[in-house]
Symmetry: C2
């Protein structure tokens, strides 16, 4: 059974999943909402409410079975599926992402890398050969790629997004610092470093202001 | 004059700033809220409301002066200040960040890189020498570093955060996929790739579910 859940709840579920998975790997079989709350700095009431969303109520005075939660949250987030993923733009950031170790644990298989720079096409990163972006469509089809990761400069991002959409991906993870337009049926998540930095800058400035004036 | 603004508004202001700055660089002197809205996929009413927060009302039927907005939003976000920043952990991600071109435009100067791996200490990235993490405290003081960026593995992140706090930074930008505890007077922004990926996975799964059942 699936239902629509708010973005804030999805993000909390992702936090629970990550922590529970690591507990499970360390042999912890049962955990209470109080203990989860302490580890994540979230109130136990909030945690119990979130878990009740999918019928998990825990055992009074004892807690939740770790492995059961991992399974159920994983199902809700679709992390028990396997998604095939391609990175477009193998510069510094694309290269760093290609080496990101947590993808497989979240159900993401990196199966292709694309670039337009003939000097790096054919080179291997993390065991995957960099392909010419000209072959994007045929490789996306052949390797059944559902997710495209955009790590090209902002000026090229929309063009790359169009190519990914035309090739038939279901979702885009955009790292380019620009607004990308995609058809409404496509999912897009923006990872915008300049927004995070601006937020940090704002809070530090406020702090300095309060201290100084 | 400064006031407390919600996180959602700060993130929108950061979006406005980025777009306006690029318009300004391209010689665009005046822009309407309708045009801003189209470019950013935000309603003009929302934009006018946000800008009115700091007394910007535009000129009826004409729009806003780009350079004035850039200045005022930059002031509010603290982006007209200069922040000295250090990256701790020069692996793939730390290296990619060290090469991130947008830092200076947002007022961030990368002035130090730290690692514990003796094989890379002394090497240069983007013109900055990698220092031994043992010298973190003295270098943070000497180079007046206010922001520490954490790009070490999750297991080492809290320890690095403690060292940064002790050295006197004002804010932390954390890329390690783990919860970091810092004193309440410190600002922390988490950049958690696994959360974004889980969100994308959830929405794509929902979509498949709706199509299949």
């Amino acid at each position: 059974m699936k239902q629509t859940i708010s973005k804030a709840t999805i993000e909390r579920l992702a936090l629970y999943f990550r922590m529970l998975k690591s507990l499970q790997e360390n042999g912890v079989q049962i955990i209470s909402s109080e203990e989860m709350g302490r580890k994540l700095d979230i109130t136990p009431v909030q945690i119990r409410k979130d878990l009740a969303l999918f019928g998990q109520f825990g055992m009074k005075g004892i807690g939740y079975y770790t492995s059961e939660l991992v399974n159920q949250i994983g199902n809700i987030l679709g992390l028990n599926n396997r998604w095939n993923m391609a990175i477009v733009g193998v510069g510094h950031l694309g290269g760093a992402l290609a080496n990101y170790k947590n993808f497989p644990a979240l159900g993401f298989n990196l199966v292709a890398l694309f670039d337009k720079d003939i000097r790096i096409i054919g080179a291997e990163v993390h065991g995957i050969k960099i392909s010419d972006i000209k072959n994007l469509k045929s490789i996306v089809t052949k390797r059944k790629i559902q997710i495209g990761v955009i790590t090209v400069p902002a000026t090229e991002a929309q063009d790359v997004a169009n190519q990914l959409v035309e090739a038939g991906v279901k979702g885009i993870w955009n790292f380019a610092p620009t607004k990308i337009i995609v058809p409404p049926e496509l999912q897009i998540v923006n990872e915008d470093l300049s927004i995070s930095l601006s937020t940090l800058s704002y809070y530090i400035s406020m702090k300095f202001f309060q201290e100084t004036f």
